[in-house]
Subunit: 209 residues, 2 copies
C-alpha cells in the first residue's frame, strides 16, 4: 500500500486508514469469492468443491471465505442464489392478467433455459441436488421461498402452491428431456411448438378452479 502524500499532484494528506490499493479484503474480495464459488460449484458440483478451492480461485485466504459466508453449505446457498437469479422473475411473469398467464410463464422459464450462460450453472446446481442431500435441501428451500411461494401468492385458485408446483414440474421435466437427456424431437423442437402445447396446460393449472 502506498501512503498518501502531500502536494498538488496527489491531493491533501488523508487522516486515518491508508487507502486500500490491493483488494485483499472488502466488498471487492467478497464479490470475487462469490463469483469463484459460483464457477467452482458450476464446474465441479457440490461434492468436489471445497472452501480451499474457492479461496484459491478467488485469490484469498480460506478464512476470508468463512468470514463472509460461513460453512460450505452457506457458500453454496449464496452461489445458488446467484445462479437462480435469472429464474426468480418467474413470479413476475405470472403477475397481472390471468389471460395468457400460462404462455407467459412458459416463455419466461424457457427463455432462461434457452440461454447457455444461465442454463449450464442451473444444470450444475440440479446435478448437485441429485447427488448430495445438503445441496438438495438448499435448492429446495430457495425454490420454495424465492420462486414458488411468491408465484402461488399471485394465483387465484384453490391449493395455489400445488398448482404452481404442477406448472413448475411440467417445465422442469420438459427441460430435462430437452437440455439434459437431449431426447429428439424435444431437443430440437421450436420454442413456439412447445409453448403452443404447454401454454394451455399451464393456463389450466394456474387459473382454472
Amino acid at each position: 500500500m502506498t501512503p498518501a502524500s502531500t502536494g498538488p499532484a496527489t491531493g491533501p494528506r488523508k487522516r486515518g486508514r491508508p487507502a486500500r490499493t490491493s483488494a485483499a479484503d472488502g466488498p471487492a474480495a467478497r464479490d470475487r469469492i462469490l463469483t469463484a464459488a459460483r464457477n467452482e460449484f458450476a464446474e465441479h458440483g457440490y461434492d468436489k468443491t471445497s472452501i480451499r478451492g474457492i479461496a484459491k480461485a478467488a485469490g484469498v485466504d480460506p478464512a476470508l471465505v468463512h468470514h463472509y459466508f460461513g460453512t460450505k453449505e452457506q457458500v453454496f446457498e449464496a452461489a445458488v442464489e446467484l445462479i437462480l437469479a435469472p429464474a426468480m422473475g418467474a413470479p413476475d411473469a405470472v403477475h397481472g392478467s390471468r389471460e395468457g398467464v400460462g404462455e407467459r410463464m412458459a416463455r419466461f422459464v424457457f427463455g432462461v433455459w434457452e440461454n447457455p450462460v444461465y442454463r449450464l450453472p442451473l444444470l450444475a446446481v440440479l446435478r448437485s441436488a441429485l447427488t448430495n442431500e445438503a445441496a438438495a435441501a438448499v435448492l429446495r428451500g430457495m425454490i420454495e421461498r424465492r420462486v414458488l411461494l411468491r408465484m402461488a401468492g399471485e394465483l387465484d385458485v384453490p391449493n395455489p402452491e400445488f398448482r404452481a408446483q404442477l406448472a413448475a414440474g411440467h417445465l422442469i421435466g420438459i427441460a430435462m428431456l430437452r437440455y439434459v437427456i437431449r431426447m429428439e424431437p424435444m431437443a430440437s423442437a421450436g420454442m413456439d411448438d412447445i409453448v403452443a402445447m404447454v401454454g394451455p396446460t399451464l393456463q389450466r393449472y394456474l387459473t382454472e378452479s
Copy 2:
C-alpha cells in the same frame, strides 16, 4: 468340481463334461454379474462403478464380465435395461381405448415411481445420466427405443413422438419435485389429486389433434 459317479444313489455315470457343481461360469454366473452390476450402479453411480467392483460383488473374474457383456458402457446398458424393466409397460398402458388413456398413463408411471424398490435404482440411473455423458447416451437410447417409440406407435395424433415426450416430460418433472427435490406439497400430495390434474393434460397430449 465333483466328477459324476456311478451307482443308484447318484445315477449313471455321465459321458463328456463333468457336471457343474460350482457356478463359476454359465447362465447362473451371468445372472449374478447382471444383478451385481445393477446393484453397484444403483448404489455408486456410473463414474464410481468399475468392472472390477462388479466382478468382485458377483464373485467372478473381471474377464468373465467382459466376456458376457463387453465394455463398462455395455454392462451399464444391460443393468439399465433391468432397472427400466418396470417402466417398459408404459406403452401397454397407452394401448387400447383413447378414452381415459391420459389417466391410465399417469397411474401406470406413478405406480412404478411410488415403489421404492423400483424408484431408487431409477433415480441412480438418472443421477448417472446427469453426471456422465456415456451414461446419458445409454439412457437416452433405451428410453427412446423401448418406451417412447413404442408409445408413439400407439398414438393417433400428429407428431406422435413429440406428443409422447410432452407427456413423459410432464411426468418426469413431477417425479423430480416429488421424489428427488421432495418439495411440499407435491411430495405428500395424494396420488388421486395429482392424477386428477395431470390425467387431463396427458389426455390432451396423447389424443387431441
